[in-house]
């Protein structure tokens, strides 16, 4: 069922929803970018639709609601463990089609990968509903169309703000009352999707094992500065690391945290005994790219990357992940044709 609202009317919808949910949306944080007087779009709680940034893609993804950048798991004393408090109120997250596809990947990694589900992930995940932000245009550097993540019908409701009007397609019955009571007119509403993205990406079907040591990766050893930004902004990166923090010198009182990790930064592949599995940034790039568009598929049947393009936009060294896939594809062709 669809509705069309004026902005004030839609804010009434949000007001009612806020009785039961917190609303988590992309927000323009003025002046919080890397450089003086540059901004960043990252997720935060909102109460009015004007406070959400719906035109431009967020720099950081929604995933911070499900896997916080830094989260205290529990506190420990000599003989006791206390689970850290967390905000258990349900959340509605506003996100684009590619990001809704990314949720499937997060679920796969945390709840569909091995015998044990991730308890910390699940307790947050169970409280989250997803609302779709329609895409009026393809985002810079995105290749969602080639990754098949440009469309979705898995949303509680959709939001498209066009010429000051808010268009909503409501699918979730639990939320229906909030939409019906706010004024607005009923109409047939279809969320906007893009069908042509800026950048074309071709993935290789198979990647022969020789490419593991291919010179094509050397370029990235020289160019990449292993800052990890490409991972931290990625809606499908799921790695974290565990930190034990001791408040006292005897190490008996403290807390355990988990924090986001990156396969690009130093320390990620360090193992006991001082061995580092992937030393060069080229090797790390190879691992990341193959994981995103090949290895994950071998295991689960679909690719991990959803083509949002955030990693390209954020890279301080202008390294294009998307173009790397194309280079990989070309290289695979070369190698297999020469056999």
């Amino acid at each position: 069922m669809g509705f069309v609202y004026k902005t004030e009317e839609f804010n009434k919808v949000l007001e009612v929803l806020e009785g039961n949910y917190r609303i988590f949306a992309p927000v323009l944080k003025v002046g919080e970018g890397r450089f003086r007087d540059t901004d960043v779009i990252r997720y935060d709680y909102i109460s009015r639709i004007e406070d959400a940034e719906l035109e431009e893609r967020s720099d950081f993804s929604f995933k911070e609601i499900l896997i916080p950048l830094s989260e205290t798991m529990f506190y420990f004393t000599e003989n006791e463990i206390k689970e850290a408090d967390y905000d258990a109120r349900p959340v509605i997250v506003l996100m684009r089609s590619c990001d809704i596809h990314a949720v499937k990947r997060l679920d796969q990694m945390y709840t569909g990968n091995g015998p044990n589900n991730d308890w910390f992930y699940e307790r947050l995940r169970d409280r989250v509903k997803f609302a779709l932000i329609g895409c009026g245009k393809a985002c810079p550097n995105s290749f969602c169309v080639d990754m098949g993540s440009n469309k979705t019908d898995e949303y509680a409701f959709s939001i498209d703000v066009v010429d000051g009007k808010v268009y909503c397609d409501v699918k979730d019955d639990e939320l229906f009352a909030a939409f019906e009571g706010a004024g607005g007119s009923k109409d047939n509403v279809e969320p906007r999707f893009v069908t042509e993205a800026e950048f074309k990406v071709t993935r290789p079907e198979e990647v022969p094992i020789e490419l593991f040591k291919d010179p094509m990766w050397d370029e990235y050893t020289k160019r990449c500065v292993n800052c990890g930004r490409c991972n931290f902004v990625c809606p499908t990166c799921t790695c974290f690391t565990i930190q034990d923090v001791f408040y006292t010198d005897n190490g008996r009182v403290g807390e355990r945290r988990r924090v986001n990790a990156s396969c690009m930064v130093d320390g990620y592949t360090d193992v006991a005994g001082g061995l580092v599995m992937r030393k060069t940034n080229g090797e790390r790039m190879r691992f990341k790219v193959l994981h995103k568009v090949y290895d994950f598929r071998k295991r689960f049947g679909y690719d991990m990357c959803v083509g949002c393009g955030r990693c390209d936009t954020v890279c301080p060294e202008y390294i294009s992940f998307a173009n790397c896939i194309n280079k990989l594809n070309a290289r695979v062709k070369e190698v297999t044709e020469n056999v």
Binding site: R34, R36, L69, C227, G228, F232
Partner: protein
């Protein structure tokens, strides 16, 4: 061969921003570009003047202006008319239409590229430089001012009477920090090493921190961000020269815009009062005047009616270094003269 025999008032010529040339009868026009910025129309006009009245060459000055040499003294009035477009486009205060620049004592105000271009900048250096130029020009007092965006000091503010160095106060959001330690690493390698990890989170030594905001540039998660407020370090009375070249010394840190502006503007009343009227060409580095009057008197003048922002820290007494050539012209460590080293011969042969 003399080109011209014009009876020229050189004092007036210099005040009009022309340099007296060693070639008799010739002069050079100095084009003022506050903040080291010039629009293409003005730049074209510089070219046109150099082609028509000069000798087809332009000097780029140390203080980010242009100098057009080889101008015949009899063409000065025409050149002044041609300069009008540049003076207007650069928004320079003027006294007489078509009369060229009204003064040359207060030098072009220098600025590094600043936030319009440079990733490290903490404020708009060019805009501030131009604002100050508006406030102090024209003036005959010999004052050098430079603005630089961060502690890298690409504008060499330390060689100016007033050097303004941009600062941001880094803001830390611990919930976004993942302990990657990149801020710690870069602060240590490229700045002063004010950060350390304590229990998986970052602590900043607020006294040590120079406000360069490198940590903000390098933090991959936006855990570090810049303060909304722009702050400045003010360094005083650096100079080059024959007698006692020296670096400018710290006067203020975490000063705000208004404090900086007032302090700079106040220096002119001090100079009106204390400039040595006997000084050659009424030109004297401020530092030498301060050496005469004492720093206290200088401080009284530059702090007049200034209400510094609460965060601003101010140095009450300053000592400058630099070699005093009027007292000692020896190479500093004469006992280590190169020729007296036992291995001097070997070194010379590059063995």
């Amino acid at each position: 061969m003399n080109k011209t025999t014009t009876d020229t008032n050189l004092k007036k010529l210099k005040k009009n921003a022309y340099r007296v040339s060693k070639v008799r009868g010739e002069t050079a026009s100095r084009v003022r570009c506050p903040g080291g910025e010039i629009d293409v129309d003005s730049l074209q006009r510089v070219v046109d003047i150099a082609r028509k009245y000069g000798k087809g060459m332009v000097n780029i000055t140390n203080r980010q202006g242009f100098e057009i040499p080889g101008i015949d003294l009899k063409d000065v009035e025409e050149v002044n008319k041609a300069l009008q477009l540049i003076i207007e486009n650069r928004n320079i205060n003027q006294e007489e239409y078509n009369g060229g620049y009204p003064a040359s004592g207060t030098r072009n105000v220098v600025a590094c590229p600043g936030k319009q271009l440079c990733p490290f900048a903490n404020y708009d250096t060019k805009k501030f430089a131009q604002e100050i130029d508006k406030a102090i020009f024209p003036n005959d007092h010999h004052v050098k001012i430079a603005f630089t965006g961060c502690s890298n000091d690409c504008a060499h503010t330390r060689l100016n009477d007033f050097g303004i160095i941009g600062m941001s106060e880094p803001q830390y959001n611990k919930d976004r920090c993942i302990s990657c330690e990149q801020c710690v690493k870069y602060c240590k390698k490229r700045s002063v090493g004010a950060l350390k990890v304590v229990n998986g989170k970052i602590e900043r030594d607020v006294n040590k921190c120079v406000g360069c905001a490198l940590c903000v540039n390098y933090c991959p998660t936006r855990a570090w961000t810049r303060s909304k407020e722009e702050y400045y370090r003010v360094v005083l009375l650096g100079r080059t020269g024959k007698k006692n070249p020296r670096m400018a010394e710290d006067f203020m840190r975490w000063a705000d815009h208004d404090t900086v502006k007032k302090v700079i503007c106040n220096v002119y009343a001090y100079l009106d009062e204390y400039l040595d009227r006997e000084a050659v060409e009424s030109k004297e580095h401020i530092g030498y005047i301060v050496d005469r009057t004492g720093f206290e008197e200088f401080l009284k003048y530059i702090m007049k009616d200034v209400t510094p922002n609460p965060k601003c820290e101010i140095q009450g007494r300053i000592y400058w270094g630099g070699k005093r050539y009027d007292q000692n012209n020896e190479l500093r460590n004469s006992m280590w003269r190169f020729s007296e080293r036992e291995d001097a011969v070997v070194l010379k042969q590059g063995e």
